[in-house]
């Protein structure tokens, strides 16, 4: 019985030949696939661009729609913030560059003007409220999402703008370069639960901290970072610390 293709050197040559053919075939296949992929992506891009221009106004006006668009982009792996133009997709395709930029400026405006009062840390809800106030009715509705996205674009400024999660769904925006250590984050979380008021005793009883640790964290926030105010006439504990950014101000 003969071995298919024969034996010996001839067989070896034939094997090499077929290997090469297979290799060529596989790269041909890949090229075809790549070409197809390119075509599909182009088609997709066109469709997305068309969608974006059709709905540009809705995106500009309605935060829910904006959010849904963002979600859609995320799902398909498109990062609206990426791209050659500053502001990425929002600027390039949607022509929302000005809109985005204006929002960024307004956020900085609010952060800077409240910085004296809160030490450079502002609660997200208050930031949204004050930015909305600045924009007025004509500005359209702004949601937390929009602010978070805008802050991302502020990062290259190097001014330290950052969103901080303090737990239980609360977020704060930091606008000064500051080392917010873990203990301070805990203090902030408690402050947010207590309408701005924290005390050593509260930290000891709620978080089982040693008194020294509580005192150190609070004193750092007070003296070093200017993030809280002292109250030495506190009725409950004698001494309490108030975090303006966690207090509810009715202006």
């Amino acid at each position: 019985m003969h071995r298919l293709g024969g034996v010996g050197l001839a067989a070896f040559d034939r094997q090499q030949l077929s290997q090469r053919s297979f290799a060529e075939l596989s790269s041909e296949l890949s090229q075809a696939q790549v070409d197809l992929l390119h075509a599909q992506l182009d088609q997709f891009r066109t469709a997305l661009v068309r969608f974006a221009s059709t709905h540009r106004d809705s995106i500009r006006r309605d935060p829910n729609f904006r959010h849904a668009f963002q979600q859609m982009c995320a799902k398909i792996g498109v990062d609206p913030l990426a791209g050659p133009r500053k502001g990425g997709w929002w600027a390039e395709i949607l022509n929302l560059g000005d809109w985005q930029y204006e929002l960024g400026v307004q956020i900085v405006d609010v952060c800077v003007s409240t910085r004296e009062r809160n030490g450079g840390l502002i609660e997200m809800g208050e930031l949204v409220r004050l930015v909305s106030k600045l924009r007025g009715v004509a500005g359209g509705v702004i949601a937390e999402d929009d602010v978070i996205r805008s802050i991302k674009t502020l990062k290259p400024l190097g001014a330290g703008y950052e969103v901080i999660d303090v737990g239980s769904g609360k977020k704060m925006v930091r606008s000064v370069p500051m080392q917010l250590d873990e203990d301070q984050a805990v203090v902030l979380a408690i402050a947010n639960q207590e309408g701005g008021r924290v005390s050593e005793q509260l930290l000891v009883s709620r978080k089982a901290w040693m008194p020294e640790r509580a005192k150190a964290a609070l004193e750092n926030m007070l003296l070093r970072d200017g993030l809280c105010w002292l109250d030495d006439q506190d009725e409950v504990n004698g001494v309490a610390y108030w975090v303006p950014s966690a207090m509810h101000w009715d202006e």
């Binding site: 004296e116 009062r117 030490g119 309408g195 701005g196 008021r197 007070l222 003296l223 200017g226 105010w229 002292l230 109250d231 030495d232 006439q233 506190d234 309490a240 610390y241 108030w242 303006p244 207090m247 509810h248 101000w249 009715d250 202006e251």
Partner: protein, 172 residues
């Protein structure tokens, strides 16, 4: 717990910061204290203006009173009266220069230019005026400012001090 502005019985609107407990404590952080001082100064002056109050005493204020009054004195927002003590002061919710203009304006519109008036008549006029109840020291300062632009002359009268206001503008 929400901090809101609050209206006093006399109709003055206290800003929401006045409802914040730490506002009444001296702050160890100097930057924070500067803000507290600034807010208190503004509040004290605008409340005094609203109630037409001139005198403030440290005893009337809370714990941080003496420090804040000190800061206000340094910025000429008040002057210790009597001088050389720091328990009691006169508030300049109008500066002496502003008082000078108000004084001259009043004399002019009530047709009392070129007449001799006693200080008493100015402080306690029959018809209430912006100058009613003005402390003597502030009146004297205002008159002195007017003399510099030839809009007032100090006259010696029978019992007390008198002044004659002359027409003119601050510019002269």
């Amino acid at each position: 717990m929400s901090l809101s502005p609050h209206t006093t019985p006399s109709g003055f609107l206290l800003p929401s910061i006045h409802a914040a407990p730490p506002f009444f404590t001296q702050q160890p952080n100097p930057a924070t204290q500067a803000i507290v001082t600034e807010q208190w100064s503004r509040l004290i002056l605008s409340y005094a203006r609203h109630r037409q109050l001139f005198t403030v005493r440290v005893e009337d204020a809370e714990v941080t009173g003496a420090y804040i009054l000190e800061q206000m004195a340094a910025k000429n927002q008040l002057v210790y009266d009597p001088p050389k003590q720091s328990r009691s002061a006169l508030l300049y919710w109008r500066t002496p220069e502003e008082w000078a203009e108000v004084l001259h304006e009043w004399a002019s519109t009530t047709g009392q230019l070129n007449t001799i008036l006693t200080f008493y008549e100015i402080i306690e006029p029959p018809v209430p005026s912006p100058l009613s109840g003005i402390p003597m020291q502030i009146l004297r300062k205002a008159i002195h400012i007017l003399t510099k632009t030839n809009r007032a002359q100090i006259i010696a009268v029978a019992d007390g001090e008198g002044v004659r206001f002359l027409p003119g503008n601050a510019g002269k």
